[in-house]
Symmetry: D2
Subunit: 317 residues, 4 copies
C-alpha cells in the first residue's frame, strides 16, 4: 500500500489536482527541531517552474504541518504535513483517451475507472513532493551522513557538465522529451546496517527507488560493470554493501529514468468509450525532462530508507 518503513514509517496521500498531497511520518524521535529553511530548500530543488527546461506549473509547496511538532520540536507522535495543490488546470485531461507510456490503462484496470485522472491523479510526480519533505527531515537526522545525487546522463548523453540542458531543449523544441540516469553517493554510513535477504540495504532502497515514477532500473556499487569482470577483479571493488549489509565504505547507486511520457506530439491511443483507435495530443504543462527534478527525490528516498535501517539496527541518532 502507500506505507513504507518499520521504525521510520511514512504514509503518503493525495492526487495531482485534489486539495492537497501529504505525508504522515511516524517514528520521528522526540525533541528534534527541524531546520525548516533547509526543508524548504529541498522542496525548492524539486519544484517546477524554475527555468525553460521544466513545466510552467507553479507550486508554492509551503509545508503545512498539522501534528507532531510543538514549539518547533518533534513530539514523537506522528507528524502530518500537507502541501496544498495550486495552479491546476484540470480541463486539460481527457479520461477516455489513455496516454501512451502513462499509468492510465493500468490504473483503469485496477481502479475500475474511479481514479482521479486529472494530471495523473495519485500516480502523478506531484506525490514526490511529500517524499522530498520526508527526506528533508530524514537527512537532518542521520548523523554524519551525506546523500548526494547528480545527473549521469540525459537522453543518452553523458552529463559531465551537470545537466545537458542542450539535449533537453532540443527535445522540447521537437515537442518531445528525454530521460536519463541519476547517480547517488552516500558517505558516512556505519558498517552493519541492513539484513541478509529481504531486508538487505539493496532490497529496501530498491523498493523506494522503484516507487519514484519513471524509474525503471537500479544498480548498486557499479553492479552492471562488475558483472562483466572476473572475481579476482571484482573483489577489489570497494563495495558499500556486501551480503545486504553496509560495509562502512561509500554506498553508490544509480537509477535509470525513462523519458517523460507526456509529449506534445500526436500519438496513437484507444478510445475507451468505443474501443476504437484514436489520436491523442497530450495537453497540459509538462517537463521535457524530469531528471533534474528527480535528483532531490532520489536523495530523499535514500535518506528515508537509510534512516529506517538506522533505527532498525538500533544505532543512536
Amino acid at each position: 500500500m502507500n506505507t513504507f518503513g518499520e521504525r521510520f514509517r511514512l504514509s503518503i496521500f493525495g492526487e495531482s489536482h485534489g486539495a492537497a498531497v501529504g505525508v504522515v511520518l511516524d517514528g520521528l524521535p522526540p525533541g528534534f527541531a527541524p531546520d525548516m529553511e533547509a526543508v524548504r530548500e529541498q522542496m525548492r530543488r524539486r519544484r517546477p517552474g524554475q527555468g525553460e527546461h521544466t513545466t510552467a506549473r507553479q507550486e508554492a509547496d509551503e509545508p503545512e504541518i498539522l501534528s507532531g511538532l510543538f514549539e518547533g520540536k518533534t513530539t514523537g507522535a506522528p507528524l502530518c504535513c500537507i502541501l496544498r495543490n495550486a495552479d491546476t488546470r484540470s480541463g486539460d485531461y481527457a479520461p477516455h483517451l489513455p496516454r501512451p507510456g502513462h499509468a492510465d490503462l493500468a490504473s483503469f484496470a485496477k481502479y475500475k475507472g474511479f481514479a482521479d485522472y486529472r494530471g495523473g491523479g495519485h500516480f502523478s510526480g506531484r506525490l514526490t513532493a511529500p517524499l522530498v519533505f520526508a527526506g528533508a527531515l530524514a537527512r537532518q537526522l542521520l548523523p554524519g551522513v551525506s546523500v548526494t545525487a547528480g545527473i549521469r546522463e540525459i537522453g543518452g548523453h553523458p552529463a559531465g557538465d551537470g545537466c545537458r540542458t542542450d539535449v533537453i531543449l532540443a527535445a522540447k523544441q521537437d515537442g518531445d522529451s528525454v530521460g536519463g540516469v541519476i547517480a547517488c553517493k552516500v558517505e558516512g554510513l556505519p558498517a552493519g546496517l541492513g539484513e541478509p535477504f529481504f531486508g538487505s540495504v539493496e532490497s529496501r532502497l530498491a523498493a523506494l527507488l522503484f516507487s519514484i515514477p519513471a524509474v525503471k532500473a537500479a544498480e548498486f556499487d557499479d553492479g552492471i560493470r562488475l558483472a562483466g569482470l572476473r572475481g579476482s577483479e571484482s573483489n577489489r571493488y570497494p563495495f558499500g554493501v556486501l551480503g545486504g549489509i553496509t560495509s562502512g565504505k561509500t554506498l553508490s547507486f544509480s537509477v535509470w529514468v525513462k523519458p517523460t511520457p507526456s509529449v506534445a506530439l500526436e500519438q496513437d491511443t484507444v478510445d475507451l468509450r468505443t474501443g476504437l483507435p484514436a489520436k491523442l495530443t497530450v495537453k497540459g504543462r509538462h517537463d521535457p525532462c524530469i531528471v533534474p527534478r528527480a535528483v532531490p527525490v532520489v536523495e530523499a528516498v535514500a535518506a528515508v530508507g537509510l534512516l529506517d535501517l538506522w533505527l532498525i539496527a538500533g544505532f543512536p541518532l
Copy 2:
C-alpha cells in the same frame, strides 16, 4: 528481517553448514495438491554438482515437509519445509580472515563475531534452496502464468547459445570466476496487479531480486535502453508495468550478478586477530560461475512475489 510477503508470506532460515535450511510458507490456499515431482525438478535445476562448471558439493535437497500438508493437499495452515544439509566440509573456513567480496566483514560488524562463518553461514547461496522450493509451489498456483528466465551474458559475453561454458571454464582454469546477466519474462499476468509507489510491482520484485546473493542491479521493461530514447519512441514500448501496476502485457526484467567472490587465487585480506594485512587462499568447493544456478532462483522469487501481488489484488487462483 527474514520474512517476505503480505498474503503469501515466507520466512527462511538456516545456515550453509548447520543442520538444515528451510522455509515457512503462510497463506497457501487450502486444497492445493503440489506436484512434488515438478518441485523436485526445480530443486534439481538449482542443485550443484551437475557438471564441471559447478561446485562439486553434493546436496540431495529432498524437501521434508513438516506441516501444512495433509493427504497430499495443503491444509491452509503454514507449510514448513526443511532441506537437510549434507556433504559439508567445515574445516575449509578460517573465520579470522575475511574473504574479499564476501559478506564476512559486514557480517562481523552486524553480528559481532557470533555468526556461523562456515560456508558463509546464513549468507550462503545455500539459502536459495528454500527460495526455489517456495517458488516451485508459487508457480504451480499462478493460473496461466509462465515465468521463464535465461542467461543473457556470462563474463561480459552475450550468451546467445544459452550459457557460454567456454567463458566459465576459462575462468575456472585460471582459478578465477565470472558473473553475468539473467533475463526473465513473465507471460499471462492480468492487468491490475501492484500498487502505485511502495507496493509497485517493480518495488516488490526488486526487493526479492536483491535478496538473491550477488545480484547488484535490476532492470524492468528494458529500462536502461529506454532511458536513452526520446519519449515519442519510449511510449511505443510494450511496458509490462506502468505506474507500478501490471498492464496485461509481458513483464520483462533482468538482473546483473557479480562474479563468485570465492576464487582459488591468493588474495589480500586483513587478519581480524591482529589487524595486520594477510594473504588468503579461499578453500572449499565453489562455482566458478553462479549464474546458471541462479536462473531458477530468479524465476522462483519472481513467482513468489507475483503470487503475493495476485492474492493482495484479490484475484482468484
Copy 3:
C-alpha cells in the same frame, strides 16, 4: 506505531490542541460513494457538548477530505481526512504536574518531555474522532453487517435504561467521575473470518479495543461467565468466534472503561521540576463519564477491524 490493518489500513495523527487530528485510510475499494450524512451522524454521536453529563468543549468535527475522493466516490487511493481542532484552552494545563491516572508520567518517560502536553496531546480522547470517521466508512462497506454497542454498566450500576445519567451527575456534583462497561453485538458476519493464533478475530479486535483510551478489559462471547461453567454447559453457548475464526453466529464482546482520570477534586502528584510532592487540581472541561461517548468509538473500531478481516479473507464487498 499509529498504523493498523493489513488490507484496510489506517494511520491516525494529531494532538488535542494542535491544528488538527486526522486519519489516512488505505485500501478503500474504488467507486464507493460514502453517505456523508451518515458519517456526520456517527461524528455527532461521539461529539462532546451535548448535555450536562459531557464536557462543554465544542467541536464542529466537520470532516475535511483532502484526497482519495473524486466526484463523491472513493478513487482507491489513500483517503486523508482531517478534523480541525477548535475551542481549545491550552492555558489550563501545567506540564510539570503529571495528572494521576493520566498518561503524563509514562509519556514523559517515552517522549522525554517533548510531547505536546496540552489536553493530553496525542493521548487525548480527541484522537477517537478520526477513529469514528474511519469506522463510519467501514460500516457502510460491510454488506449486511450491523455493529451495535450499548452501555451495560455505569459506575458499577447496571444500565438497563440505557445510560444512568443519575450516577454520572452524582459523580459530577462531587467533582468526581465514573467509568463503566460497554457491550457490542455484531450481526451478519459470515463464517470464516480470522485466523488461528495471532490473526484471530479476538486478537485483532482486542488490539483495536485496547487502543481506545481508558479501556482496560475486554471479553468475547461472555468469556468471563463461561470460565466458571463446565464444558458440557459452555459447549452449548452460541460462540461468535471459535479457534479465532467467526462461526457465522452473532459476535458479542464487552469492554471495561475506567473512570475519567480528570476529576475536579484536589489530588496528590509530584512536581517534575523539583521532585517534591505537590497538590494538583485538574482544570479544563472534562466528561464526568466518558462511557456514553465511547459507545460509537467501540462500534467504529469493531467495524474497522472487521472490514480488514473481511478483505484479508477475500470476501466480496
Copy 4:
C-alpha cells in the same frame, strides 16, 4: 497470519498429529547463550501426562534447533526449533462430526474441508509448545524482568491454594471439564515501553493472549474492578500501563479460559455429510482442565510480547 512481532518475530507452524510443530524466531540478538536446561524446565511445565488431572498423552518435547545457534550461542540469524509429535492416536477423530465448542465448524468454513482435523490440527493446544519455547528464550533475554503467572480460579472457585485439583477431578469424574482464570504479574519493566493506540502494551499483549486457545477475556491492571469505582479512587491505583505505555510499576493482567470443549459426555452435533442432527462422544485423551498447563503459556506469550516492545523501544538487553 501465523507471524507476530516487529523486532522479535515468531512464525509458528505445525499440526497436532503432523510430523512436528515448531517456530522460527527472528531478531534474537547475536551471542546469547540460552540456558537450555531452563528452556526444558519451561517445556516441562506445559507438558501433559504429569498427573491424573491432565491428558495421558506423552510428549518428549525435546527442542530440536535447526538453525541460528552455533557453538551454543545465537548467531543473530533466524532460529528454527521443531518439536516432533509423538504418541498420536489419529484414529480417534471423526471429521464429519464437528465437536461442539471446538473450531471444527469455523475451520471447515475457512479451510473448505482441507484442514488436518486430527487432534484439532493447527488449532490444537499442541501449538502452544513452540510458544513456550519462544517465551523461554525471551524471558532469559529480558534483563531484570520477572514474569509470574498463577491460577486465580478453577471452575468458578477461587484457587487460593494454587490449583483446586478437587474441582478438576470432580469434573473429570463426571466426564466433564472446567475452565478458570489465570493472573500474571510482570515486575521490573522500565517506564516507556509501548505506544499510544494500536501499539499500546495492552493491544500487543492482548493480541498474544487471545492467540492462546480457549482464552476469551483479558484484563489489565484490575480494569474490571476499576470500571466500577470513581475517578478519585481509580487514580490511586498503581497502574502498570497508562496511555498504552508502561509506567515503571508492576504490570498485572488476567485471562479467562473457557472449559476444555472435549468432554467425555455424549453431545449433540450435525453430520456434515448429511446435514442431519447426530450424537457425538468425543474420544481421545484430553485435559479435564487446561488451566494449569496454560499458566506457562501465558507467561511465555507475555515474555515474547514484552521482548518485542523492549526492542522496539530501543532499550538495551
